[in-house]
Amino acid sequence: MAASDTIARWRYRIVPDHLVGEILTKRWVDNAIPFAILLIVIGVFGSLIPDFFGAASISNLSRQWGEFSLIVLALTIVMVAGGIDLSVGSVFALGNIVALGLLSVAGWPVPAVIAATLACGAAVGLVNGLLVGYLRLRAFLTTLVTLIIVRAVVDMLLLKYSVAIAAVYPDSDVWYYLGEGYVLGVPFSVVVAVTLAIVLHLFLSRSRAGWHVLAVGGSRRSAHNVGIPVRRVICSTYVVSGTLAALAGALFASRLGGAGADTGIGLEIAALTAAVLGGNSLGGGRGSAAKAVIGSVIVMIMVNSLVRLGVTSGANSLLLGAVLLLAVAIDVRWLKNRHKFLSKVYVSPTYSELPAAPATSGASAYALNDRLRSVEAIGLDRIDGPEDVILDEDDNIYVGNRTGDIVRFLAPDYVRQEVFAHTGGRPLGMAFARDGALLVCIGGMGLYRIGRDGTVAKLTDETNRSWLSIIDDSRLRLADDLDIAPDGRVFFSEATVRYEMHEWPVDCLESRGNGRIICYDPNTGSTRTVLKNLVFPNGICMTHDGQSFLFAETWACRVSRYWFDGPKRGTVEIVIPDLPGYPDNINRASDGSYWLALVGIRTPSLDLALKMPGFRKRMARRIAPDEWMYPNINTGCVVRFDETGRVIETLWDSGGENHPMITSMREHKGHLYIGGILNNRVGRLKLDGMDPEWTGQSSYWSQS
C-alpha cells in the first residue's frame, strides 16, 4: 500500500489536475477549438502547397485577409448583439464602386472619397438598423432584402459608370498606398484590420457600450429590463457593420482598381462561415474580435489555398458550405455541453494523507464527555446559522446569520434581539478593533467594518493577484476569520479560492491548498497575501507576544503558528499536527491558553479516501452531490490548548443533541458562548475555574 500511496502522492503533486476545470471556467477557452482548427488548416495546406510560407504568398494572402477580416468584424458586431447582417457582401461591392466612381469620375480628393464611401456604407447600415432595431423586423429577412436591393443598385451603377471608371487612371499616391502600401513591412489593409480588431476587442471587453452590446445579444429582455436602450444598441451595430463593409470595399477598390459584376458575391457566406467557425455564437451574446480574426484567417487560407490547388469554384463553395454546417453544429453542441462537462471536471481532488487520528476515548485528552450537556440555548430557533459569536463590553452578543445580518442579542437575559447591521453577504469571523468597531469577514464580499452605530463600510475586497493563477484570485470569495495585531493590521483567512460560500464542504473533497491568509493594513490601506496554499485556513487568533498568530487549517486537521514580526518573522511552525477532527475558529482563553472549535470529527472512511484522489474524483463525477462522502460535521467539540500544542481539555456533547454543530466559541466573563454555522441557537456554558471578569477586549486592547 505504501508504494501505491507514494505513486499517488507524486502523481498528484506533479500534475495540476485542477487547472482543467479552471481553464474551462474561462471565457477564452471558447477559442480553443477554432484555434486548433486554424493550426490544422495551416499544417495541411502548408504541406500541400509549395512555397506556402514564402514572402510573396504571405503578403498576398494577408492583404486579402485585411479586407476580408473587416467584413468578418462587421458581421461579428452584429452577431454579438444577437442579429445577423447578410448585406455585408453587397455593401462591400457598393463601397467598391462608390469609391472608384467618386475618385475617377467625380474626381474627388482621396480623404473625401473615403469619408463619402464610409458614409454610404453607414447609410445602408442605418436602413438595416432602423428596420431591425426600431421596427423590429426579422434581421435575416431584412438584411437579405437589403442584400438584393444594394446589389441591384451596384448593378445599375456598374452599368452606368463602369466604362468611365475603367477609362480613368487615378493619379494619387495616397490612393494606391491604401491598396498596395506597407507600414513597416506590413500591408496597409492588415494594419487597418488589426487596429480595428484591437479597438473592437477593447470595445467589447472594456467599455460600457460594448457590454451593452453583449448584454443585448445575451438576453434582449433582460437588457431591456436593466435599462439598456436595446433598439438603439441594435441599430448602431448595423451602422458600424455597414461602415466597416464599405471600408473593406474601399480598400479592395484601391488594390484592384476595377469594378466587376462579381465583386463581393458570396462574400456574406464566407464571412458568416468565418465568424461562426471562430466561435461567435449565432444566438448572440458570445463573441469577440479574437474569434473573428481566427475564423477569418481559417476561411481565407482555405479559400485561397483551394484556388491555388486548382479546385473548381463549385467545389470551393461546397466545401465552404460544409465547413459552415460543421461550425454551426460544433457551436450548438459546445454551448450546450460545456457546463455539463465543467461541472463534472471542476472538483479535482488531490492526495492528502493525514496523520493518525488520536483516540477520543480512554485516557486521551480528547476523550468523550458530556460537558456540553448543560449548555443553555440563546435565541433557539430565532437565529439561522451564527458562525461566530462575539460580545461587547456591555455583554451584548453579536452573531452573523445566513441572510446577511449581524444580529445583536441584548444583555442581560438575551431574550430581545435586533438587527445591528445588514451586510448582504454571509458574515463569518468577527473581532472588535481598538476603537470599538466590529470588523467582520463576510463570505462572498470581503473584509468589512461595522461602526458602533451600525454603519457598514468596506475595508477590502481584493488582494494582489498571483501571476501563475488561472482563476482570478484577486477577489475575495470566502473571507473566513480574522484577528487584529496590536498595530492595527488585520490578518484574515480566505478558506478557498475555488469555491463559493455555500459549497465550502466540497473543498474537503479536494483537500488541496486552495486557501490563504491575507493582511489588510489600515495605515496604508493595502491588502497583501501573506501565506498561500493553505488547506482551508479557518480560525485565526493573535498570540500574546504580539508578533505571531495561530491559525487552523480545517481539512489538514492541524493548528500552526505564523510570525509576522520579530526575530522569527515569516516562519510557520506547526503547533498541533494531528487533531481528531476539523478545526474551525480559535480564540483566546482567560488563562492565556486558547479555545479551538472542532467543527467535525474525522471518519476513517474519508481519511482513507483522502489518500485515493482518483476515487474521490470518480465519486464527484458519478454520484449526486447530496450523496457525496462528506467530512462528518454533524458532531463537534471544543478543545482548549496552549501555545506548546498541549491539549488541556475537551468539551463534548456526546449525543450531539443539546448543541449540534460547533464552529466557534468565545469566552466572556466566565462563560463560553458557542456558535455553529448551520445551527439554530447560540450556546452559553458556565465555565468553572475561569476568570469571571475576563473579556476579549481587555485582553486585546487594555494593556497597551
Binding site: 472512511s605 470518480r618 454543530m661
Partner: protein, 362 residues
C-alpha cells in the same frame, strides 16, 4: 471482446453495469412514517426474527428466544449455546431454531427435540421456511457467517445456497447454489421464491432448483425475509441501497483497503442502524441543518417492509425514514389482523393493526 470493450466504456462513462443509480421510493414504496407512528412498540435489544409458537409471539435476540407477554414486555424463554440466527414456525405448535453453529433444533410439535445438521458447509443460515414435511434453509454465503453480511456484500460474493431438509429422515439436499446472499424463502406452489439480497430481487426456483423467473427486480433496498400474509406475502428490506454504496461496490481498490484498514462499524456499507457514531461516514445531504437531520437525507439504514400480492408485486409499505427510529427491519409477520415488525437496528418490535395500513397504495 465486444463485452470487454463495452465494459471498459461503461466504466469510463458510468453507464450500464457501472451505473450507480438507485430506484426511487415510489408507487407502493412511497415514503411514509407508519413504522415510527406505531402505537405499540416493544423494545427488545438486538431482536432479529419473529415467529408464532403455540399462538404466542416469540422473538430471537442474540442467543435467546423471548416470548411476548400480554402487557407488552418480553419474557426470556430459552437460551442457546450459540447465537440464534433464525427461527420459523413448524406447524401450529412447532418452532425451528437455527443456530450460528449450523444446527437446526426443533422445539415442540411432532418433531420436538430433533436436531439437524445437513452439511458442514452450512455456516450462514439466514432464513427458514417450513412445509408439512420439510424445512427449507437459505444459506447466505459459503464463506461468511450470518453476522458478516456487510463483508459478504462488499466482497461481491454470490456463493449462497438453498437447502431442503426432510423432517422425517433428516436427509438434506442442496436445491440451488450461486445465489447472492439468499435470505428469505417463501414456498409457492411447487417451487420456492427466494430473496436474493445482493442482486436486489426476488427469484423463483422451480422444483429442480433452477431460477425460472425473476418475480421482483431492482428493489431500492436489500430484500430479506419473506412471510405469508392473509393475501400475499410480507417482505422485509433490511437496509437501503444508496448511490454511495453502489459506487463503492464498483471501486475494488477502495473496498479492499477499507475492509483491511477501517474498523467494520465505520465502513461505507449499508447498516441496520447508522448515525450512532461520529466515526461513521457522512454524506452531503446528511448534514444537520438547524439541528435537524432531514428525513430525505441519504442514509445507510432505514426501516422498510412491504406487503406483496400473490404475484409478488408490492402493494403497501411501512417505513421509517432517515430520521426515524425503527431501522433495520429483519422480520415481519402478520397474525390475527396485526402486523408485527422486528426492527433489529433499533432493537424494537412494532405492532401495527392491519386496519391502519389502508388499502393498496399503488
Amino acid at each position: 471482446m465486444i463485452g470487454l470493450l463495452s465494459r471498459t466504456f461503461d466504466n469510463l462513462l458510468g453507464r450500464g453495469e457501472a451505473a450507480v443509480t438507485v430506484p426511487p421510493l415510489d408507487g407502493a414504496l412511497r415514503p411514509n412514517r407508519l413504522l415510527d407512528t406505531a402505537r405499540s412498540r416493544m423494545p427488545l435489544p438486538d431482536v432479529d426474527c419473529l415467529a408464532f409458537h403455540d399462538s404466542v409471539l416469540v422473538a430471537s435476540a442474540g442467543s435467546d428466544i423471548h416470548a411476548a407477554l400480554p402487557d407488552g414486555r418480553w419474557m426470556l424463554r430459552r437460551t442457546y449455546g450459540s447465537p440464534v440466527v433464525c427461527i420459523a414456525s413448524v406447524g401450529p405448535d412447532g418452532l425451528a431454531v437455527a443456530l450460528d453453529s449450523g444446527y437446526v433444533v426443533i422445539e415442540g410439535g411432532p418433531f420436538d427435540g430433533r436436531r439437524y445438521r445437513v452439511d458442514p458447509a452450512i455456516r450462514c443460515i439466514t432464513a427458514i421456511a417450513a412445509t408439512s414435511d420439510a424445512l427449507y434453509l437459505a444459506n447466505g454465503s459459503a464463506t461468511n457467517d450470518a453476522g458478516e453480511w456487510q463483508r459478504d456484500l462488499l466482497e461481491r460474493n454470490a456463493s449462497g445456497s438453498v437447502w431442503r431438509i426432510d423432517l422425517g429422515s433428516g436427509a438434506g439436499t442442496r436445491i440451488a447454489s450461486g445465489l447472492a446472499w439468499p435470505c428469505g424463502i417463501a414456498p409457492e406452489g411447487n417451487g420456492l421464491v427466494v430473496s436474493e439480497a445482493w442482486r436486489h430481487r426476488l427469484v423463483r426456483l422451480d422444483a429442480g432448483g433452477t431460477v425460472d423467473r425473476v418475480m421482483l427486480a431492482d428493489l431500492p433496498g436489500y430484500p430479506g425475509r419473506l412471510s405469508p400474509a392473509a393475501d400475499g406475502w410480507w417482505l422485509s428490506l433490511f437496509a437501503p441501497r444508496s448511490q454511495l454504496v453502489e459506487f463503492v461496490l464498483r471501486e475494488p481498490v477502495y473496498r479492499r483497503r477499507m475492509m483491511a484498514e477501517v474498523a467494520q462499524p465505520f465502513w461505507v456499507a449499508p447498516k441496520l442502524r447508522s448515525g450512532r457514531s461520529y466515526y461513521e461516514p457522512l454524506q452531503g445531504g446528511g448534514v444537520k441543518h438547524l439541528g435537524l437531520l432531514k428525513p430525505w437525507a441519504p442514509t445507510m439504514s432505514f426501516g422498510l417492509c412491504a406487503r406483496l400480492d400473490r404475484a409478488f408485486q408490492p402493494r403497501v409499505s411501512l417505513q421509517s425514514r432517515a430520521d426515524g427510529a425503527t431501522h433495520g427491519v429483519t422480520s415481519v409477520i402478520e397474525h390475527d389482523g396485526e402486523i408485527i415488525v422486528a426492527a433489529r437496528g433499533d432493537g424494537v418490535v412494532a405492532r401495527i393493526p392491519l386496519s391502519d395500513v389502508k388499502g393498496d397504495a399503488a
